[in-house]
């Protein structure tokens, strides 16, 4: 019997620094599988964020740039404008994209820049040690909300997919999660769709992945998966919020 499952060529053969139970590894693998399946590794440029995935360039086998906090969409814009033939994606967490980089992502999406964003929403700042993110759930304890997030003081969590889907410019905006094989398969389909729209030069594309952070949530990996299902998914609804066919 032949080999039926192996490491994607786009993924480096190395150990990652991610914590046990973190879904970054799954998200990385899905991106790598899609890049392999579309045969675009030789013309892809990834943009690493500031956050837990800052070292992600060590885990992929194609060209990478490393951004400043929140600025990846501006860098992707720069690349795509001067080299529209390249396939470009940013990979950003919620502190990066939804807080300090809110301006950059909204304007890139609104210009209809032809790149893809993988948006990891785990409701917390990971690398800096578990502080509140714009996506932190009401009542969720973090190192800067020791009594839980108080919406009356800092507002409700930002729903990035809904916000970006409200723009009039055509785009592909989808929210998925990675908490079980069923959802992982759907997430992969969405990621493949996003890159395909880019290859067709159709539109800006973003896939939000509702993810876990057992370390900063203070949970076991298994409890973290349940927490996503019970606490996050009722607020962060899954599905395609916008496709270019809508326009």
């Amino acid at each position: 019997m032949g080999k039926t499952f192996c490491r994607p060529e786009a993924l480096a053969d190395t150990v990652t620094h991610y914590c046990p139970g973190c879904t970054h590894g799954v998200a990385h693998r899905l991106v790598a599988e899609v890049i392999d399946e579309l045969g675009i590794r030789g013309r892809t440029v990834g943009i690493a964020p500031v956050g837990c995935a800052v070292l992600m360039y060590n885990y992929f086998t194609f060209d990478f740039q490393e951004a400043a906090h929140g600025r990846a969409p501006a860098m992707a814009t720069g690349i795509k404008r001067v080299r529209p033939d390249l396939i470009v994606f940013t990979y950003q967490g919620d502190g990066d994209l939804a807080s300090i980089g809110m301006g950059e992502i909204v304007h890139a999406a609104n210009r209809g820049e032809k790149f893809t964003t993988i948006f990891i929403n785990n409701a917390v700042y990971g690398m800096t040690g578990g502080q509140m993110a714009p996506t932190t759930m009401p009542g969720q304890r973090t190192t800067t909300t020791p009594m839980g997030r108080k919406p009356e003081e800092v507002g409700m969590p930002v729903r990035i997919s809904e916000l970006l889907a409200s723009l009039a410019t055509p785009g592909y905006i989808s929210r998925q999660t990675l908490i079980s094989p069923k959802y992982i398969n759907r997430a992969k389909k969405a990621i493949k769709k996003a890159f395909t729209y880019q290859m067709e030069n159709r539109c800006f594309s973003l896939v939000e992945l509702v993810s876990t952070c057992p370390t900063n949530w203070g949970m076991t990996p298994v409890d973290a998966l349940s927490w996503v299902e019970e606490e996050m998914l009722p607020y962060y609804h899954l599905g395609d919020f916008k496709t270019p066919e809508d326009n």
Binding site: T44, L55, E66, M75, T77, G78, G103, H107
Partner: protein, 356 residues
């Protein structure tokens, strides 16, 4: 080629195109918005890229992304905008990407004013963003010189894999002068395959390229910064540029001045000469690296009694002049910093005043 009459800002845009700088990202700000207005029409004509970004912060990263994948890229802005871009400039320098930033200075701090100024000298030559880095800083004194410096800046940026800044005061952008675009200043882009994230297929290579600025290991970061320092030391050997004026005779005062201010000083020097008072001048054309030795040598001349740094700022370059003169002559500052350009009469009065 015959000369054409052009406004400084438009000439700067055209000069970049003539030098093969066909990728431009910018955000509007007075007094340099004409560059973006000009290029919004001109770039499509030459198959170039024009994009108005949502902020100067974003623009600096558009420049970073484009430069990192190997494109010849530039932006233009003015003082408050350069402050916002300084974050990106720090990253671009750390990542060793070539790019050109033009700063048509206005008064500051804060919103300051929209009239000409030279108050970003420190920001341009000493850093501006965080970390140990320098820019090669070119300071034109006429529209023609701005054209030539812009045209040269792209190959200098590529030579050092470091951003170059053109530091012009508002008058350089706003005044009209006859210009020509010397063909010989266009240099073909360097081969960037060794480092640019241009796509492995483009390079026909299996080796991927990585453009990054994070060095968590202290030894690695130290080594990287020493590598940057080596480049700045090389600039100090190879890129010193200045123009001497009236240094042949027995001048009693040495003026150091750059940009538009130096043209006023030149007129003042001519008038004083007619009166029988000799004054010499060194005009730094590059502000980093700074012509320290030339200034020291000129100040050291036995007839020279004092050195005067004339600037449209509260006195910024004067610190570099003092550093150059190493205490061998008294160093003074004269200038205005509200947007008004000192007149030749102002400078003449200051020189007479110095000599008592």
């Amino acid at each position: 080629m015959s000369k054409v009459l052009m406004k400084g800002n438009e000439a700067i845009g055209e000069a970049a195109i003539r030098a093969g700088g066909l990728n431009y990202f910018a955000y509007p700000i007075t007094p340099q918005s004409e560059v973006a207005e000009y290029l919004s029409g001109r770039m499509p004509e030459v198959g170039g890229v024009f994009l108005q970004g949502e902020s100067e912060v974003a623009v600096s990263y558009m420049i970073f992304g484009a430069a990192a994948c190997g494109a010849r890229v530039f932006t233009t802005s003015s003082s408050p905008g350069i402050s916002l871009m300084s974050e990106g400039i720090s990253y671009i320098t750390a990542a060793e990407c070539p790019a050109v930033f033009v700063n048509i200075m206005r008064g500051g701090p804060g919103l300051g004013g929209i009239l000409p100024s030279q108050a970003d000298y420190m920001q341009a030559t000493k850093g501006g963003g965080h970390g140990d880095y320098r820019l090669l800083v070119m300071a034109p004194a006429s529209v023609q010189e701005a054209v030539e410096m812009v045209m040269e800046s792209f190959s200098l940026a590529e030579k050092y894999r470091n951003p170059v800044m053109i530091l012009g005061d508002g008058l350089i952008g706003q005044m009209m002068e006859p210009v020509e675009f010397p063909e010989h200043l266009k240099v073909e882009p360097s081969n960037k395959d060794a480092w640019a994230t241009s796509g492995m297929d483009t390079r026909k290579s299996d080796k991927r390229n990585l453009v990054k600025t994070l060095y968590l290991d202290p030894e690695e970061l130290n080594a990287q910064n020493l590598k940057l320092k080596t480049k700045y030391e090389r600039m100090k050997r190879e890129e010193i540029r200045y123009e001497p004026y009236n240094l042949e005779g027995r001048y009693r005062v040495l003026i150091v001045s750059y940009g538009t201010m130096s043209r006023v000083c030149r007129t003042a020097i001519d008038h004083l000469k007619a009166e029988g008072l000799e004054v010499g001048m060194i005009r730094p054309q590059h502000l980093f690296p700074f012509p320290e030795k030339a200034i020291l040598n000129a100040a050291d001349k036995e007839s020279c009694e004092a050195v005067l740094s004339v600037e449209m700022s509260m006195g910024q370059m004067v610190e570099d002049v003092e550093r150059s003169v190493v205490g061998r002559r008294p160093v003074h500052w004269y200038g205005k910093c509200g947007g008004e350009v000192p007149t030749p009469e102002d400078v003449m009065a200051e020189v007479r005043n110095l000599l008592g």
